[in-house]
Symmetry: none
Subunit: 249 residues, 2 copies
DNA sequence: CAATTGTTTGCATATTATTGCATAATACTG
DNA sequence: CAGTATTATGCAATAATATGCAAACAATTG
């Protein structure tokens, strides 16, 4: 068994289970735990996973927590927000899903921009309210305690009456193969409806969310028109998306 | 179970419920309370939650400066809130209009109370979200910039499908002769719809709002079932309302 | 082919991290 | 202010880690 082969297996396990135990891997690939430990250390240095006491966890899993993102990735999100704002023109109708990246986007909207915004997120609605030239329309429905956005039939019905110019679609995970995915089915339903309600789908995502996936699928990667990350558009991690005719910012 | 994994679970619980008890977590993840305590201490040091006596609470997810600054007659509002809460029973469906008095009411709802709440106010929805046993349903629609509640046809249509047990109807002014009145026609429309959507109308108002009136009328004084003020129910300012068969609290 | 060099691997060892328990101190409750 | 619950602290058992070392292995060179 080649070392690289082993490392791929480890990464795969991490991707599937979001965590691995050192001992399990050692048994799985029939090497000593020391070797696995060294492999994980290398993968950690390569930023492919996070080494923790007793094993490793996926970066996506580690980062999925809202507070941490809030605190630690502000600069990245701000960069993404700035790129995203360039897509907007006066008079447009814009749909915002939830998430802290979209929240940052809402925060940074220039005061001069006159647009109409729909959102099921109370946090984003709250931010948008402070923009004088922005008309804010709240998408109603049962509030998910978890993600703090309106979900369910009412929200989906309301979206059915909308055709927005742009939808800023936050997502938990994005993967070339598995598309956009989420933890929570309620959220998936509402995001599917948001895609249907928009002419153009823009996915602002932190690069850490790339190459990870969750249980439930929102859509295929092809349904995204524009992908915005904090990385340089020419970054090698983004190249394959260009093949699918997705704009990269 | 990896330590990091456990920490993620704790964070997740905090995110969902806004607070966790040490003992609950210990049971949930099957470790001693000491271990959970240490985990929470670490998460606290990492600024991912706030450690409190007996457990942890989430960091305020967004700083609602606007509402926090409204400290006008907070004691009076708190007193009104306490009286209003006594009207509520588990299992009821409750409608909240906007306003700082209703916000105070939402804040002070006891954690044990299990009710379903509808509201067009993002500030109140936000408060209600932190109550474990409260289901929150947001009434969607265009957000009024000054009152920060959803107004217009969408909101009114949504209300048409509801029959709540109680409606806490905030109002700008209340007058024996002119009834409940407002500055803003949009708000009047939505409040009219709220009255139609409820079996019982409760008006929590500070005494300062008594005996004043505005341009637009929500309803006659007779349509109010219960009037709650910070005054003693026997106060002479309230006597005349009793004649109209309105309960005074 | 033998010698050399560098890498990988497993093992032994010392070090460090994690956990639960005991106990004393402190905070909350009525 | 007493009674209870929660917390901080030290300690010991266990598990995981880092480190050095030697054997195994591969690639390169004379």
């Amino acid at each position: 068994m080649l070392k690289e082969e082993r490392k791929q297996i480890i990464l795969n396990e991490v991707r599937i289970h979001n965590r691995v135990l050192l001992n399990d891997i050692a048994e799985l690939v029939s090497v000593s735990v020391d070797t696995v430990r060294r492999d994980i250390k290398e993968l950690h240095d390569e930023r492919k996973l996070k080494k923790v006491h007793g094993g490793a966890i996926s970066l996506g899993f580690y980062n999925h927590n809202a507070q941490e993102k809030e605190v630690y990735s502000i600069e990245k999100k701000s960069l993404i927000a700035k790129k995203a704002i360039q897509l907007l023109k006066n008079g447009q109708v814009v749909l915002f899903s939830g998430g802290t990246t979209n929240l940052e986007l809402a925060k940074e909207l220039p005061a001069s921009l006159a647009i109409t915004c729909f959102t099921p997120s109370i946090a984003i609605a709250n931010q948008l309210l402070s923009k004088n030239n922005v008309e804010v329309i709240l998408i109603g429905g049962k509030l998910s305690k978890d993600s703090q956005i309106a979900v369910g039939g009412t929200a989906i019905n309301m979206l059915a009456d909308i055709k927005a110019d742009v939808c800023f679609l936050g997502t938990n995970s994005i993967d070339f193969e598995h598309g956009l995915t989420e933890f929570d089915w309620e959220i998936v339903e509402i995001k599917k409806a948001m895609i249907r309600a928009s002419r153009k789908v823009v996915a602002p995502v932190i690069s850490e969310k790339l190459n990870s996936y969750r249980r439930y699928k929102i859509c295929n990667i092809e349904e995204v028109d524009v992908l915005i990350t904090e990385l340089d558009p020419e970054d090698k991690a983004l190249l394959k998306f260009k093949d699918k005719n997705i704009s990269i910012l």
